[in-house]
Amino acid sequence: MKRDIVVNKFVIKFANINGTGSASANKLFAKAIFRLGVPISPKNIFPSNIQGLPTWYEVRVNENGFLGRRGGIDIMVAMNPQSMERDIKELDKGGYFIYDNTKGIPPELMRDDIDIIGLPLTDACRKMYDDPRKRQLFRNVMYVGALAALLDMEKEIFHQLISDQFRGKTKLIEPNIQALEAGYNLAKETYNCPISYRIERRDNVGNKILIDGNEACGLGAVYGGATVSAWYPITPSTSVIDNFARYVRKFRMDPETGQKNYAIVQAEDELAAIGMVIGASWNGARAFTATSGPGLSLMNEFLGLAYFAEIPTVLIDVQRAGPSTGMPTRTQQSDVLAAAYASHGDTKHICLYPSTPKECFEYTATAFDLAERFQTPVLVMSDLDLGMNDNMSEPMEWAPDRTYDRGKVHTREDLENLTERYGRYQDVDGDGIPYRTYPGTHPTKGAFFTRGTSKDEFAIYTEIGGKYIENMDRLQKKWKTAANTVPKPIIRKTAKPCTIGVIHYGTSEASTLEALHHLNSLHGISLDSMGIQAFPFSDEVEQFINEHEYVFVVEQNRDAQMRTLLINEFDFEPDRLVPLLHYDGSPITARYIRHEIRDWILQTTTSPRRRSRFY
């Protein structure tokens, strides 16, 4: 097969068995490319299982910095005979199928439109190692070594990474390097290296970092001043708390007493987790929980209480595919409506939609400010793709002079100096936001009774309809105030005015922006875009939609939940918002978005004259 050489632009997928240590080998491979200055986007596709089932790791390499999923596979590293049939079928025409030929490919699976490279990895391992566990582990490092040869990578970068990885465990460095070299040599001996896909050093990464969103959220909670964390384990949010715990152990231990300046409580369920967050926040601490869809459902009753009793609450929702248990290890953006309107009665909650780890960090830290400023729940809507995959991101930032906005809280002195009766739910400043006091502040002033039942502005129980309305309308006013405080949408306009816009949010961003780039370069279609960052929607969101005849809403759920939220909040003509949906549990691809938009434009606008309006 005659081929062109393709440098730093391909998608490689590893097929492995979970629980065999392949994840760290695959990460080593991805990190090496990143260290060589070439942008990457790795995705871990794993089963809800601990050991023995198929698992995949897909790395998109793109020196132009497109980080969404592209769609299609150029190189398949097939290390799992269980999944070989689907793996070989999935490979794009003209791709490379690299496999362990200790066990051959069944003849009926053979394809003649791809290159097949067999490497006797298991055989080689059997010769090199006696211990079965070592055979398994080092086979992983060996195929990474083989890839270094096949892709013509600088080998030294792996040596450096292995040394970094086993810092403090020097005994492990040498055997890993040996396995890497063995794999490298095996590929050289078996195949005329390199293949037509190559990795070359570039300087296209800049000061970017490679980190998963859950670590960034956990760190955001540390920087945001969270002292109480209450949670219940649930995939894919668990590592938010793991990382929070890791960083508070580092930064929040009193060096003299060994005492902790934090408390992490693993609750008995999600109901208790959010209850603890509410109790701690009510009592003046910054507290948070992290969960996923099923947990969010369980927290609904309490979220209504927090909304109505006006208690700051920070919740990180790392979304996964639902409903019910759905596909717990696959990604979706399917809690949008469940989060925005969580609970019974008239409720709505501030939601933030991070797209990158930097935003995960920033929005988690900001969530505490917003929650305390508006005395209400704030939900950070991450997802599995963002939370559990390493994402290349701008570095996290924290300005040296940044302070916490603790919101309106009367101190003991404030209460002492009050000339009028303190009213917990009084709108003193006309922005709908009342003043809190913490329990234990003043001996005789400021005590009030927090309740989910209706109350007057002095927190006294009442069932008088007028008082109820007064309170609900004040909450609405507070909501309007919040709309212009939450992060603004990111609007990207084309050079000339255009009639079609595209809305994206969260992890649909990278693929959408790439699709728009290629719609322009390949099809001459240029469209405006808007990345929604928060709910309530600010005026700019409405304005963007009004400026365009049609607006695509790109999202990763079946029911077009963000579109519904927009229509519900603004009363748009529904036809103007065109759903563009992807919901198979994998991250949305740029190709898919591009094809959907292109096809829609072609179908909707049959006459060339009419079509021209979109170009």
Binding site: T227, A230, A263, A267, A447, G452
Partner: protein, 350 residues
Amino acid sequence: MSYKIPTFRHPNLPKNDLGYTTKDYEGAVSTLCAGCGHDSISAAIIEACFEMSIEPHRVAKLSGIGCSSKTPTYFLGNSHGFNSVHGRMPSVATGANMANRNLLYIGVSGDGDTASIGMGQFVHAVRRNVNMVYICENNGVYGLTKGQDSATTDLGSTSKKGEPNPLEPIDLCSIALQLGATFVANSFSGDKHQLIPIIQAAIAHRGFAFINVISPCVTFNNVPGSTKAYDYIRQHMASTNTVDYVPHAEEITTDYPEGTSENVTMHDGSVISLHKLDTEHDVHSRRSALTMIKDYKAQDKVLTGILFMDEQSKDIHEIMNTTTTPLRNLGISELCPGTEQLEAINELHR
């Protein structure tokens, strides 16, 4: 029932060490039915806090949903209160306690809250040994929804509706003991001489102090066939001990025959003086307490008093080794690692 508490008080009302009278510990007027056992418990809490000279604003009172959970409005009006959601008071109290370990937490709950919808939360608050007083105002009936049996209704007990309860009851004291509760007492709302010092002992206890108080529902469950009626409890109540709470400054003056009394010194230096009515019982033995409850029940008696205490127990903060400063008092300088550290973390990810 009256709608307003008269503001007039006797000018010579006794004052406690803080100069407060009982008036300073009262709350809003109760909206419960006249004769409700819960009101007697509120009165006992007021009296207990007054006598112990507790600063009202240093108390946080929390509850779930139900008749019992309404009562925190009716005592300690100068304390912050939190009427949360049904059965979930333990989690809110746990969170509040995490934020500030220096307040006194009084949780009030009922049998629907504790033994049914919130059983899970109750169980885990016990396990964690959250430093709080947990009072279950147990009337064996759902009052606010008008008279359904609860999970603590005794087998065969009949409420006003007349149907004998066909299910085994949950004995909350036994459960608390089995879960490792560090203070367990059983009492009766109609016996304030017993209840007040038990509440005081529970307040002095560091850790989770559980008091089950049988508190008859005059409207739905005070009928002849009910085992949670005033008459029934008065006829069947037996006490394992009488309790005196002695602040640490005072001298113990009670004098009982050798072997029948025991003085337990609490971590704050106060003393719980127990006079044993049943000399068999060892208040420091969990096994003894469980056996006693069973034995008395077999004789158709309701055992009351302090059933078990472990005054040396470690509360949740000691277990977790959290700072002695209330977490909510920590500021950005203690909490935020700062810009340089973040840059170092960024660097580790390059």
